[in-house]
């Protein structure tokens, strides 16, 4: 059963700018892969709890003590653009 995908919407959600040719090509590939992956739907799983994690653990606490942090300058050195000790990005809101 082929899986229908609105690939342009998925690419927008994933924040990846693809042109029309790329969208078409990835759309076909995803449809093929999902057709295989959809085999999981053939297995009856009523009443089966999902496993999100292999270890049965909750709330990994540690003592609330102040420790050192990464060097501010060393961290900012790797940023594409900074200003006054902050990361700088283009405008976030549209003019309209």
């Amino acid at each position: 059963m082929p899986v229908e995908i609105d690939i342009a919407r998925v690419a927008k959600l994933a924040r990846i700018a693809l042109d029309d040719d790329e969208l078409e090509s990835f759309g076909h590939q995803l449809s093929d892969i999902l057709e295989h992956a959809a085999r999981v739907q053939a297995l009856p799983t009523e009443g089966v709890e999902p496993t999100s994690h292999p270890l049965p653990m909750v709330n990994a606490f540690r003592p609330d003590v102040v420790t050192g942090s990464l060097d501010h300058a060393e961290v900012l050195e790797m940023a594409p653009e900074t200003e006054g000790g902050f990361f700088r990005v283009p405008r976030i809101l549209d003019e309209q």
Binding site: I16, L34, A37, P50, P54, F87
Partner: protein, 493 residues
């Protein structure tokens, strides 16, 4: 012709203490080896000549003044380039991280420094560890040292190739669906995926957080055990790291398999597994039985769906993890009028096709309306896989299977067929879904002269039994072949 680079870790370490050689000699031996092999293999992305030299000299000074940091003191090791190393370029083989120098060491890396190891450099991988052939690297593929027309497996193909030829004594990789064991199998060495949580993931560039696990690659089972011991144990910086005592790892290596219950996984010995691989696996199982193991068949019916579940769970988690590569704090930025446009352009330019494919797949599988049919269902299948393993371990101590359905395949053969590529991990993925440990080690060569790997799986924290059985398999196999590129002689192209 043999060189210092051909010693295993145990021999190199013993020689250091006898005064046969110094740590700088060991480093020079692997660097000399690399000058020959790298032109053919491309196992390394970065060799840290200065840092490695300084570490080796320090190791020699320490030993001279009576400071012995243990079995890895002065031993040159290779690290997969998705492990953060302070000040040393760490790219995960992606354009989006070209030039990135982490401001910190990951926990495993820090522990190796404390153990006195010499960190030679950073090795190639499939971009963000997504792949089974090391062909998806933005910096070009790594080749298999047994036959350079074939792939070394992946995604830890760089570490694996380096260890196989001796441009490192041992190495580390990460295993999300088989990325340590499958390349170990294809290059004729030992590779271990430890129990989930046994090794801290802090400073490992995340692919799929509930599956990723750092583990060792080595030329002997004993070396792999020593490497794992150096990095295992609780780390407050990784909330998923295991808080209990580290299981005994090296304790049972000489204990043999008398009375050990070995289950042969029926579903991983049938169709889809190459005839020669199956025959070699079966032959080793017979020898284990001769050596005193109690061999039975074990069925894991849900593993038939494991591959499908994995290719929903791993992309879903990767789509979330890779959201951090957005051109803001580090990595590539392509300018745009708005922040959103800048991010979308940066990601399109910085990610390779397989990474884009998986991020899109994961985004789709998590999006409203599809979540339960795909991701939710995959997680329930994961529960069934875990139940199958638990039921099998009621009756056996370890499970065995081939590591890879085939030996090394030709470069380029599967690059246009993602589904054929994904099938390379069919035997390894179940252990990632269950979180249990597994090891691959070589048992022989096929008719083309390529290594065949054998997988031993154990229940969570069952490393001691797993290593015990693996050590017996190693003795029974007596595998001593080395790739033709394990040489210091110049090879004409």
């Amino acid at each position: 012709m043999s060189s210092l680079a051909d010693l295993d870790i145990a021999e190199a370490a013993a020689g250091l203490r006898r005064g046969d050689h110094a740590a700088v000699d060991l480093l020079e031996a692997v660097l000399r080896r690399a000058t020959i092999t790298e032109a053919h293999l491309h196992a390394y992305l970065t060799i840290d000549h200065d840092g490695a030299r300084a570490a080796a000299e320090q190791a020699d000074r320490d030993l001279a003044s009576g400071v012995d940091k243990g079995p890895l003191h002065g031993i040159p090791l290779a690290l997969k380039d998705n492990m953060c190393t302070r000040g040393i370029e760490t790219t995960a083989a992606s354009q989006i991280l070209a030039g990135y120098r982490p401001p910190y060491d990951g926990t495993a890396v820090a522990r190796l420094r404390v153990a006195g190891a010499t960190l030679v450099g950073k090795t190639n991988l499939d971009e963000f560890a997504m792949g089974s052939s090391t062909e998806n690297s933005a910096y070009g593929p790594t080749r298999n040292p047994w036959n350079t027309d074939t792939v070394p497996g992946g995604s830890s193909g760089g570490s694996s190739a380096a260890v196989a030829v001796g441009s490192a004594y041992g190495g580390f990789g990460s295993d999300t669906g088989g990325s340590i064991r499958q390349p170990a199998s294809l290059t004729g060495i030992v590779g271990v995926k430890p129990t989930y949580g046994l090794v801290s993931r802090y400073g490992l560039i995340a692919f799929a957080s509930s599956l990723d696990q750092i583990g060792p690659l080595a030329r002997t089972v004993g070396d792999a055990a020593v490497l794992l011991e150096a990095v295992a144990g609780w780390d407050p910086l990784d909330a998923t790291s295991y808080r209990g005592d580290v299981p005994a790892i090296t304790g049972g290596l000489d204990a043999g398999v008398e009375g050990v219950r070995v289950g042969v996984v029926t579903e991983l010995m049938g169709e889809g597994i190459d005839e020669e691989v199956r025959a070699a696996t079966r032959a080793m199982i017979d020898r284990l039985a001769d050596a005193g193991a109690i061999v039975t068949e074990a069925s894991l019916p849900a593993t038939e769906y494991a591959l499908s579940a994995y290719y929903l769970i791993a992309p879903a988690e990767c789509s979330a993890n890779l959201a951090r590569f957005d051109g803001v704090r580090y990595g590539l930025r392509i300018e745009g009028d708005t922040t959103e446009e800048m991010m979308a352009r940066s990601r399109a330019a910085g990610f390779g096709p397989e990474v884009i494919r998986r991020v899109l797949l994961g985004t789709y599988a998590l999006s409203a309306g599809y979540y339960d049919a795909f991701y939710g269902q995959a997680q329930r299948v994961r529960t069934l896989v875990r139940r199958d393993f638990a039921a099998a371990y009621d009756n056996v101590d370890v499970l065995v299977s081939p590591t890879s359905p085939t030996t090394a395949f030709p470069l380029g053969e599967r690059t246009d067929d993602p589904i054929a590529m994904y099938y390379a991990d069919v035997c390894t993925i179940p252990s990632n879904l269950s979180g249990d440990p597994a090891i691959s080690l070589p048992t022989g060569l096929d008719s083309a002269g390529l290594p065949i790997g054998f997988q031993v799986m154990a229940p969570a924290l069952g490393e001691e039994t797993m290593f015990r059985v693996a050590a017996e398999v190693e003795r029974l196999a007596g595998f001593a072949a080395r790739p033709f590129l394990a040489t210091d002689e110049v090879i004409s192209a």
